[in-house]
Amino acid sequence: MKVIVDQHKCVASGQCVLTAPEVFDQREEDGIVVLLTETPPEHLTDDVRQAATLCPAQAIWLAEQEKQEGER
């Protein structure tokens, strides 16, 4: 699993940090998403998937996934 984030689309809602704090953080100056690891360990897959689903700005993708799931 490879995680991709789009900092231009991010609206700093913080949903990803609440869901998978091991994988996502926020920039100090404006709360925009920072990816801590592009390839998180297996046991975090469900959390990362939920973070992608909950992201209101659709700024998180999982590269292994079908496009439509990543874009939900």
Partner: protein
Amino acid sequence: MSTISAPGTDVPPAETPDYPMTRAAGCPFDPPPALHTRQTEAPISRVRLWNGTTPWLVTRYEDVRALLADPRIGSDSTHPHYPHQSPAAKERRRQSRTFITMDDPEHARLRRMVTAAFSIKHVEALRPAIQKIVDDLIDAMLAGPRPVDLVQAFALPVPSLVICALLGVPYADHDFFQTNSRILVRSTTTPEQARAATQLLLDYLDRLIGDKLTHPTDDLLSTLAERVRAGEISRHEAASMGILLLIAGHETTANMIALGTLALLRHPDQLARVSASDDPKPIASAVEELLRYLTIVHSGRRRVAREDIEIGGVTIRAGEGVVLANDIGNRDPAAFPDPDRLDVDRNPRHHVAFGFGVHQCLGQPLARVELQVVYSTLYRRIPTLRLAVGLDQIPFKHDGTVYGVYELPVTW
């Protein structure tokens, strides 16, 4: 559905129902029955607003979520077909417009000026201070007379104290800003009353920003003042953002505290689950469920289509108003099994109580922490908390753009 308004039909039929709709007597926590009917029979269909306009009302969870995230939908309140919530809301938007009724790139530019203060890390750092505010207010309540109005003694002061500290607004002025805020969120307010209240708040925030320009402190208004000094925003824009944050920061959370408490008191089995736990996870789940179940922003998210959109068998034309009913969306059985049951173990993180898309609530991390602290403390410290009057004597905010209770007399 074609019987309500065929795809492409520009003239809505005469039977187009009025919106917002009315809740059923004796069911203060449930959305209006007519919204349930819409969701089942005509999930995307037209309604009639206060000014006679007939935007689309979207009622299914999946459609609400999809359209809120759709770049073909805009939030520009200066569009002639923007479906304003009330005459007062229209006047306020005209006089004091902020990024919540703008589209990108302007929206993103302005929103990002204030997002740092609401990051998870920043908000978590406030948790001990919020806990102290909650504990002190409970101490004062326990030392005072019974019964007491929980709204005035607790629900309103908690978020007001928190947002005042965050913004750098003196809490001593709370009567002033709470009174004017209340005027602006009531749908029966006239445009003249809204104009006067908005102007008072604009003048007040402008004065505070002026103070921060000369004497900056460690708060959000000082950050905005710095942006003014740098020429990135005008003082009017900064004051408008200040009003938005001040109102959104206390009105919504105050209503969630009081209405959430009432909902739990009316569901003792659920209250027992909340008060028995000091583990943060079940408390966080209870907060999400109460946000979903109550969805206090109950007059829909307001948008305008920027392009033609085909969805659910209808065509929303470019330039038409759209109302996304997140309250009934949060009661959609397709997204939440047995949706009308309050179940604090459900953990429905995917609810749309904070909206969805790029305009999703900026202050949600703060609201979550405030509600987690309140729900994990109030019922544990006052286990015998109960209503001091019957449910039928509680005044609900049926006329508010944000739902809640005007008063909640409680005793213990």
